[in-house]
Symmetry: C2
Subunit: 570 residues, 2 copies
Amino acid sequence: MDNRAVLTDYVRRMTGALMNSGVTAVVISPGSRSTPLAYAFASTENLDVYMQVDERSAAYFALGLAKASRNPVVLLCTSGTAASNYHPAITEAYYARIPLVVITADRPHELREVGAPQAIDQIRMYGNHVKYSFDFPLAEDNSDIDDFIDRHISRALAVATSTPYGPVHLNVPFREPLLINFEREAPIATFHKRITGSVVLDASTRQQITNLLSKSEKGIIIAGEMPVDLDKKTFWKFAEALNWPVLCDPLSNLRAEVPSSCTELCIDQYDALLKSSMFCGQAVPDTVIRFGAQPVSKPLSLFLKKVRPSTVLAVDESPEFRDSLGVVTHHIQASPEAVFGVVVDKPRTSYMELWAVANNKATAITDRYEGVIGNEGIYAKLLFEHLPNGSDLVSGSSMPIRDVDTFFRKTTKDISIFTNRGTNGIDGVVSTAFGIQVARKRKAWLLIGDLSFLHDVNGLIVSRFHEMDLTIVVINNDGGGIFSYLPQAESGNYFEELFGTPTGLTFDHLAAMYDAQYAAVKTPEVFSEELRRPKNKPVRIIEVFTNRQVNVKAHRDLWTQITERLDQHE
Amino acid sequence: MDNRAVLTDYVRRMTGALMNSGVTAVVISPGSRSTPLAYAFASTENLDVYMQVDERSAAYFALGLAKASRNPVVLLCTSGTAASNYHPAITEAYYARIPLVVITADRPHELREVGAPQAIDQIRMYGNHVKYSFDFPLAEDNSDIDDFIDRHISRALAVATSTPYGPVHLNVPFREPLLINFEREAPIATFHKRITGSVVLDASTRQQITNLLSKSEKGIIIAGEMPVDLDKKTFWKFAEALNWPVLCDPLSNLRAEVPSSCTELCIDQYDALLKSSMFCGQAVPDTVIRFGAQPVSKPLSLFLKKVRPSTVLAVDESPEFRDSLGVVTHHIQASPEAVFGVVVDKPRTSYMELWAVANNKATAITDRYEGVIGNEGIYAKLLFEHLPNGSDLVSGSSMPIRDVDTFFRKTTKDISIFTNRGTNGIDGVVSTAFGIQVARKRKAWLLIGDLSFLHDVNGLIVSRFHEMDLTIVVINNDGGGIFSYLPQAESGNYFEELFGTPTGLTFDHLAAMYDAQYAAVKTPEVFSEELRRPKNKPVRIIEVFTNRQVNVKAHRDLWTQITERLDQHE
C-alpha cells in the first residue's frame, strides 16, 4: 500500500471505532498536523463537526455538548500550545465527570524534543486531570496495528463512559505528507461489542439501606447535581414513600416538573431557611441521604458541618465520593437510580411539617421580592418567571448560580438548569452554554456575570460557523461581584484593585461585532419588557447594569426578612 | 503568635525571598484563595503589580515582561481552573526558556480530592512543562519552616534563572481566614546569597573550536533567536574576524544596529536566496556555526538538511540542544558570549563574496517591491521603513514572522523584534506584546494576523487597569493565511471549513469597546498615511484588509523574480 492509503485507512479506522463507541459530535480547531483526522471527520456521514478557532473555547463547547447529550464528544487540535489551551475544560470535565475524548495531533518521534516548531511534550500532558492517556503509533501497513487501533479506541471510550465518566486523552502522531485519499473505501473494522447492563443492588445491600432509612425519625433527602437524563419519576416515588423533605439543589433539576403529589416535599428555600439559627436549631436531622454532587448552598453546608447528623449516606458511583464537609458516615457506591429502587414506606412526620411550613413562609417573602435599582436577584427572579416550558438555563458560577438557587422556584414546567460545578470556574461558560443549546436543540438562556462573560467572549466565535440560539443575560456589576460577600470587602485594603477589578467595559460594541441582538437594561421594568420582545438574531445579549454594593445590601435585607419571619412565634 | 500574624509572616517571607531573587514584577488574577499573597504583593514597595482578569492572557503578559526584562516574573492565581488557564503560556515559556514563577494558591489538604469547590489536583499539574514544581506547606509558627520558606523560594528562583531558563511552579495552600495584618512588620529573612560568575571556556575547548573554524574554507554563521540583552559588539568582532557570511534571523536582533564595518557580512535575504536551486548549488558550506534557536526560514532548513555540511556547530547552553534537522555534528554547550570570545582571524573569501553579491541582488528587488492590493508583505515592508530608531516590534507567528523575515532589512537603527517561537503558537500574542512594551518602556508595534488577534482579544483587558502604549497592526485576511501555502490548499477538499475558517469578523467594534484608536486600511497608500498619523490613545489598532489568495500569489511572484535574477549569468 502507498503511504496515503495507509494513512487514510488509519484515520478511517479511528473515526469508525469512535462512532461505534457512541461518538456523534466532533469539535475541531484549525491546524496543520491534525489534517488527516480533520479530513476523516469532515468526510464522515452522520457526524456533527463543529469548528472553533480558540481551543480553550472549543473544549468548553465540547464539554457543553457532552454534558447535555450524555454522549462522549471528540476534540481535535494540532500539536503545540493548541493542546495546552484545552487544559481548563479538561480539568472541569474531570471533576464534573463529563466524557471528553481529547485528540491531540503530534509530531512523529524524530521531531520531538529537538526544537521542532510547535512540538511540545504531549505525553500525559494533562496529568491527573484525565482518566486515561495513550500515545498512539504512527500509521503503518501492518494488520496487528490495524486491529490494535480499533480495539484501543474502543477501550479509551469505555474508560471515558464508565462511572465516574470523565475525559481521556489520545495523542496521535502524523508524519508528512498529511493528505488522505477521499475516494478510498473505509476499512472494515474488527469490533468487539461492549456489553454493559445496568448495575443493581444485591438484596443484602438493599436491606442495609432500608434499615438505615427505617430507623430514622427526622430524615432529609438532599438532591445535588445529577445527570440531566436522571429518572425523575423513580426519584419522586422513592421520596414520596419516605415522606421526607427533599432539599433540591437547582442543579438537581428536581425543582422542575415536580409531580403535584410531591410539591410539599420539594424544599427550594433551604438556603434562606438555614440562615436562621432558630430554624437550624429546630431542623436538626438524624439521617441524611444525599444523591449527586454537594449542593451550591453555603448555609446548608455550614448547617450539616455543625449538626453532624448521626447518619449521612452519600450515594456516589465513584470510589472518590464527594464529601468536603467530612460528615458522610456511609458511602453507597451505586448509581442514584439503583438506590431509588429501595422504597421504604414511612408516615408523614411533624418534622416534615416543620420544613414545609418554613418553606412556605420564605416563599411568601421571596415571591413579593421586588429588589431595588442596582440589585441583581430581581433579574434572576424575573427571568425564572419568564422562562417558557421546555427551555434550558445555563448559569455562570459565583453570583448567578446563587441567585438561581434563591429565585428559581419549584415548578411543574420543564426547565433544565446547567452550570460548570466540577471546579466552579468562571471560565468557558459562554462556550458551555452554546454546546448545551446545540445538543438540546431547544431555547436556551445564559445568566452570567460580566467578568465571566468577558473571560469567554471567544465562545461567541462558534456562532460565526454554526447555527446557534442563545439569549445571554449579562449581569454587569463592573467587576467581581462575589468578592463583596467576603471578609476581604470589609477590610477595605486594596479591595477594588485586587478583587473588584472594575474594567469599565460594556458589551454593546461586542454585540455589534458579532451581529447579536442587544439591549441595555437598568431597571426590572425594562428587563421585563426586553424578555417580552421577540428574539430576532441567533445570539441575543441583554446587558443588565447593577451595582455591587447595592446588591450585597439587598440580598442581606431579603435574608434578614426571611430570618425574622421564621423567628416570629405566631 | 495568632493565626493572622503567622499567615502574615509567611507571605511576607515569600515576597521578601522573591524580591531578593530578582523579582520586580507580579501579575495577579483576582481570586479569593490567593488573597494572602495578593495582599502581600500589593503592599510591597518597589514591586510592580499588574492585574489581568483572564489567566491565560495574564500568563502571556508575564511571559512578555520576563522575555523583555530578562528577570523572573511572578504569576499568582486562585485555585481551580484558573491555574489550568496558565498552561499555554507555561508551555511557551518552557520551550522559549523564559523564567516565569507560577504561584497557584491551593486549598489545604483537608479540602483536596473531597469535592470541595474550585479544588483540583494542582500537584505537578504542568507536568514536564515546568523545570521544577513544589507543593509548599501551610503557614505555621515554626522557625524551621520559616527558614525553609526563604531558602526554598530562593532555590526555585535559582532553577528558573539557571540556563536554560524556564518556568517553575510553586503550589501554596492557604487555610481560612485569609486576611493578613498590614501593620505587622515584615520578618527578617535568613538569606543565602547566590554567587554565579560568568562561565568561561577552558583553553582546550577554545582550541578545539578554533581548530574546527580554522580548517573551514566555506563557513557560515547562523544567528537565531537569542536573548534581547545579547552582547552584539562581541558578536560582530567574532564574525568580522572569521569574515563569514552571517545569516541573521530577524529574532537574532542582529539585523539592527549593524556596525558599518559589518554591513556586508550581514545576510538578511537568505530566505529568498535559498529558494533558488542554482544559488543553493553554489553556496554549499563546509562549516556552519549556529548561535541561538533554529531560524524561522524554511528554505534555510531545507538547504541545511539537503547539503548536510560536514561540520555543523550548535552553540546552546542546554544539554537539550535544538536540532530538528538532525544535522548538528558538534554541540558546544556554552553561552553564545563565551564562544564569541574565540576570535579566529581569517581572510575574506570568494565564498563570502558570493553571498554578498546575491544578497544585494535580492535586496534590489525586495526594495522595489510594491505588491498588489490584497497582498500582505508590502505592509510589513512599509511598517519596517516607518519604525523609528529606539522602538520594538512584536510579531505574530505564522505569516507575520515570515513577512518580517523577508522585509525587515538590516539597519543601523535600534529596533528589537520579539515573538513567541518556543512553540510558535498563535495564542497569547497580544498579551505578550503588552508585557514587552511595559518592560521595555518604549514605543512598541505588534504585527499580527486576524485569527491570532482574535485568539487573545482578552489581552486588551490589561489596558483597562494599566498604562499601555501599543500600536497593533492586524492583517485581516479573514482566516488562517498560513494554510494557503500548504498542500491542503491545493487539494481543495473541505479547505475553507477546516483550514481557512473565515469568521467574517472585523475589529472596529472591538476598538470602540476598548476605547482604542482605530483605522481600517485597504491599500498601502492609506497604510502609509495611517503610520504618519499621530497616536492619540494608549492602544491603537490599524486593521489592514488583505486577501489570502492574492497574498500567496504575490509572495510567490516576488520569490520567482529573485530566483530568476539569481539564475541569470551576467
